[in-house]
């Protein structure tokens, strides 16, 4: 299964985009990284996704997982 990811990525104009992994289209662009992180984290939580915050250079500076339940419920049927 392909994992769901959300990313906070710098744009060419210096703003910060909330972006789904694998997509080139931003969900929304914010003036500050802080605003983008708050927005992106909410999306990641609601989608039970992995959440990556990228630095200005693209490198990962923070990651949180909202999708990895270490004890997922087992289907008994």
């Amino acid at each position: 299964m392909v994992k769901k990811t959300q990313h906070i990525v710098r744009t060419k104009s210096g703003e910060w985009a909330v972006k789904k992994g694998g997509s080139s289209k931003a969900t929304k662009v914010h003036k500050t990284q802080k605003e983008a992180i708050a927005h992106g984290r909410e999306i990641a939580k609601s989608q039970r996704a992995e959440f990556y915050v990228h630095g200005r250079d693209g490198k990962i500076r923070e990651k949180d997982s909202y999708g990895n339940d270490p004890c997922p419920p087992k289907d008994k049927k």
């Binding site: 990525v9 060419k12 693209g58 990651k63």
Partner: protein, 207 residues
């Protein structure tokens, strides 16, 4: 003279390998691979018995393209030495293009600098050459390398913004592989050849 294997796809990357250039180097290598070319670095032949200069000469002869970054030729501190390797190797590549003849006259060279026109103070022979500045920014170097490939060879290609988005996706993959799976403190401590290995895996999964 025989044409070297993959000459048309090989790109000699003549850039610093030190820590403060690392993210630019990774971004350049990624962009070269993104457009289907083979980055060739002197690091790749570290275990052979050749002298360093012979390794570099062979890489230049085997590569149609050369990316030369001169941004570290100027010392950043009072006691720091000038870095002469990059302009020296650019000179060899330029000489190969102008003097060797045959297919080597088709060589294409991209010269990168940190600031526009700064090189003229140190290397005025390059006046009139097309030099792109990156301001030590991986995003800008990705756009510069992308635009060069498209202008010189491809005529069209994915936008710099699309390459940058993919580069960020790769950085997330690299973090998962080297920090979460392999237990490194940071992706910064992983040697460049290992980063290239993960890059190849990432591109392999994209196809």
């Amino acid at each position: 003279m025989d044409i070297p294997d993959n000459f048309e796809k090989n790109v000699f990357v003549n850039c610093p390998f030190d820590d403060d250039y690392r993210q630019l180097l990774i971004a350049i290598i990624f962009t070269v691979k993104y457009f289907g070319y083979n980055p060739r670095l002197s690091l790749e032949r570290a275990d052979s018995g050749e002298s360093r200069i012979d390794k570099i000469l062979n890489l230049i002869i085997e590569s149609k393209f050369g990316i030369h970054d001169l941004s570290r030729i100027i010392a950043s501190e009072a006691d720091e030495h000038y870095r002469m390797n990059m302009p020296f190797e650019l000179g060899i590549d330029y000489g190969c293009q102008k003097l060797r003849g045959e297919i080597w006259s088709s060589k294409k060279l991209l010269i990168l600098e940190k600031e526009r026109y700064r090189f003229q103070k140190a290397l005025s022979d390059l006046s009139g050459s097309d030099i792109k500045n990156h301001e030590d920014d991986p995003l800008k170097v990705i756009f510069a390398v992308r635009d060069w490939f498209v202008t010189e060879e491809l005529n069209r290609g994915d936008s710099g913004g699309k390459v940058w988005d993919n580069y960020n996706d790769f950085q997330a993959y690299l973090y998962d592989e080297v920090v979460e799976k392999d237990g490194h403190e940071s992706s910064d401590v992983v040697p460049i050849p290992e980063v290239i290995h993960h890059m190849d895996s990432w591109f392999g999964k994209k196809i």
